[in-house]
Symmetry: C2
Subunit: 512 residues, 2 copies
């Protein structure tokens, strides 16, 4: 230290600012001072007196300070999830050996046959809906022609009433036909999946396909009903959205328009959608690579880690050893969270963007930033925008318009959503336990709880709301529901995979 | 569905916007449209034709889109860390029972005695530095008086040279005294900790205290040297920072000013600091509660989880079973990350803010948002601002000023930092392995690597840089270093805790 003599002779040294900027400073940077010293060459700059603490500042984690970005923690979280799951996979590998096995899956030939049949038959209901609309459009066209023929006749109140009666009468017939068609779709698919398709994976795909087409059919019917009403009662109607101007009713009732809606990544029918200029095939390729990569990751993680874990949990479930069940659910929560995040990204970001790109579909808002929500309500309106958009346009707004209080309309949306969730989980696993339905119903009190909590300003209510969301959804809800359906499945059938059929716990359940 | 007949009679229903806003929409909200329908009461609003997809939008996770906030993932990460550690604590509790035990710690009476002696003796070196500066200030004052007495005499070049020689000559003596004083501080403390204090916890506290006082002494000496130089050569010097104006040299060399610096949460001496108006005692109480709570959490987590885990890893270390070591390090990484984050928050946010509040110290920037860094360099300049400020002002800038290339100056900073890290870890554990020093040296190539990577724009270079930082630091560096020092400790002494002394692995190492 005695050698650190600071002589004036070195003070004029020219230092390029770029080399100094390697060590970024805060507030008054040394670069500025060095630069000014090179301007007035003979003045000595005393670097040891530099005022490091020149102003009042707060720590960035202190409440009330400007919140910093937490992007780094997203990366850390991804790493922690990968590392902790990888470690448990190593552990399981040492215990059980390689559990990943393509040929071990004993799906039956019948499963594939019925799955293919459903895959081909379900979209037919969309074409039937198209036929119904085609007829309705014909009728509307002739009604317009009659109105034109009547010419400049004054629209007396009696005539308006007659027109309304006529519209409502024909809509009742059309609605009845649509109802029969779409209900048939859902009933047939559910019947086949529940009774004929044993494999839960194939069953889930078929059921999901049927529900998607069911929602699309409903949206197609509702939207065209309103478009027809607007055409027949132009003086009573508010103007339609500007974007529809390029394809007015009934020109939208055509084969090409229907096929676009069939494949477009949305559940909400519009005659016209915002479109992109061209297809970026590199973008499509990258997204499809992501889908493939993530699917493989999810498959490996569930085969090597989740499956033996679920298996291990069975006897604890049976003996109702509470502390052990909690421990198992906690252990499951990491892998279910991992699979959930991978699956969400693969489906909503990668797959939907690839599909949208191929369809030149412009509105890619398939999800919002649901990971930041401070209320369970916000989660349900941001994580799955296609379904939210459907529910808002065709259920919630429609009910509110008919005079329902907003809260009742929301409950109705959750009831419908709960039924669809139960169909999606309970039917393919052949166990209509009601757990998925109950899970959706529990959301309603949770919404009121987090709505109250997030408003508690001073006490970090938003962070608390977000924590409650994560705990309820990813750390308790999902793994517990997975455990219950797996347990019920095992109790009824034993495993889908041949490897476990000698498990003593399983033998017990099968013998039951 | 056939009952969903939309009649015009319900279209005039008044819906309060507040109830609708419960379901937030994007773009054109239904509220707007409902409001406009209530204005022109007789027009029918067709809710089923609402243009949900009215414009082109991108998914918020798509590259190039405006990056959303990831605050929620910070919360999820905290939860995942808590849950996964809690689960492993339950597992360990079932295996080993309660391992948390206050009386099991066999620190020796001598450890406490020497610890207390060091706690009292170390600050004395700061007072000796004060004495040295008091004498230097006296000398400077008389020099100024002589200069004043010489009156309006012209400052000839010879006189300037003579004054400079005189200053340098007296600075050599002062620097020698400071050097002896501060070196004695570090040497005595290191000697006592290494040879007399067996307990690693007490040893670490003592060594850290000595290093802090050593750095404070150095900053005090360097800063006052430059202030003195500026006083004696007012015509050659750049103006001092404005904030120092209220306490010019040599008025700052007084007992109260020194005591403030002694307790202020900074390692950089300034005659004047930005100060807050008053002490918010509630703020202090909250911060101290955080310190207490987090300390207990860290203690429980390490006793119940980290200790048996380290113990389990010993035989794997001995047999050099590589896959097992990797698995152990991965398992350790979760708990070490957890303890690190808790410890960081407790020390840098809670403790330092409490101390700063009591001292009315205004500049609370004790850390930056190091979790977002995309380069290892940025990490080292943001996570520990007190040390960074010291290194930048007294080492880096000083060396650059003397003509060192910026890169060499950075290497010098890392070498010094490595020595201090080794003192802090190697001395209290009585094993100067050089791992901590090597860990700091490895940062230099890592810095160059991440500097290159973070500039790769198109390929998410910043995210990759951030990942490399997390992997190198939290997921590999820390747990591996902890394992190595723990292994060396066990090999030399056996456990600090009585419970493990019958461990067969330990018996082997002790017998060695």
């Amino acid at each position: 230290m005695a050698t650190l003599v600071h002589t004036a002779t070195t003070s004029g040294t020219d230092i390029a600012p770029s080399t100094l900027s390697a060590m970024p400073s805060n507030g008054n940077t040394p670069e500025q001072t060095v630069n000014s010293s090179t301007r007035s060459t003979r003045k000595i700059k005393h670097c040891h007196v530099f005022a490091t603490h020149s102003q009042q500042r707060t720590s960035c984690l202190t409440q009330g300070a400007e919140t910093p970005s937490f992007l780094g923690f997203r990366n850390l979280m991804i790493l922690v999830l990968i590392v902790s799951n990888l470690r448990l996979m190593i552990e399981n590998f040492r215990k059980y050996g390689v559990l990943i096995c393509i040929r071990c899956h004993d799906y039956r030939r019948d499963d594939v046959k019925y799955g293919l049949l459903l895959y081909l038959s379900v979209p037919c209901h969309l074409f039937i809906a198209y036929m119904i609309e085609l007829a309705a459009a014909q009728q509307a066209k002739s009604a317009v022609a009659r109105m034109k023929k009547a010419g400049e006749e004054q629209n007396t109140p009696e005539k308006v009433a007659a027109a309304r009666r006529s519209f409502n009468w024909s809509w009742r017939i059309i609605a009845f036909l649509h109802g029969v068609n779409s209900s048939a779709n859902l009933l047939i698919a559910t019947h086949v999946v529940y009774n004929r398709i044993h494999h839960p994976g194939i069953g889930t795909l078929c059921e999901m396909h049927a529900i998607i087409v069911w929602l699309k059919t409903a949206s197609y019917a509702f939207t065209n009903r309103d478009l027809r009403h607007a055409l027949l009662h132009p003086d009573q109607s508010e103007p339609l959205p500007e974007i529809y101007a390029s394809c007015p009713y009934p020109r939208n009732i055509n084969w090409k328009n229907l096929c676009y809606f069939w494949w477009a990544p949305t559940l909400v029918y519009q005659p016209v959608y915002p479109r992109t200029e061209r297809i970026r095939w590199m973008f499509v390729a990258k997204r499809l690579l992501e889908v493939a990569g993530l699917s493989i990751v999810i498959w490996i993680a569930s085969a090597q880690y989740a499956a033996p874990l679920l298996q291990n949990s069975l006897d604890k479930m049976f003996t109702l050893d509470f502390v052990s069940i909690v421990e198992r659910v906690m252990k499951l929560s990491t892998i279910s969270l991992f699979c959930w995040l991978c699956g969400f990204f693969a489906l909503f970001q990668s797959f939907m963007n690839a599909l949208a790109e191929v369809m030149r579909f412009g509105d890619r808002e398939f999800y919002g930033d649901w990971w930041n929500v401070s209320s369970v309500r916000a989660y349900w309106t941001t994580w799955n925008k296609p379904v939210t958009n459907f529910m808002r346009r065709h259920i919630y707004n429609s009910l509110v318009r008919r005079g329902w209080p907003a809260m009742y309309a929301q409950v109705a949306v959750f009831v419908l959503s709960g039924i669809l969730h139960e169909l999606l989980v309970g039917v393919p696993t052949h166990n209509i336990l009601g757990v998925a339905f109950a899970g959706m119903m529990i959301q309603i009190p949770l919404i009121f709880l987090t709505d109250v909590i997030q408003k508690m300003k001073g006490m970090g209510g938003e962070v608390m709301g977000n924590m409650i969301f994560w705990i309820s959804f990813c750390l308790v809800g999902q793994p517990l529901a997975a455990l219950l359906y797996f347990f019920a499945w095992q109790a009824k059938y034993g495993s889908v995979s041949k490897q476990y059929q000698e498990s003593p716990a399983l033998q017990f359940f099968v013998r039951r």
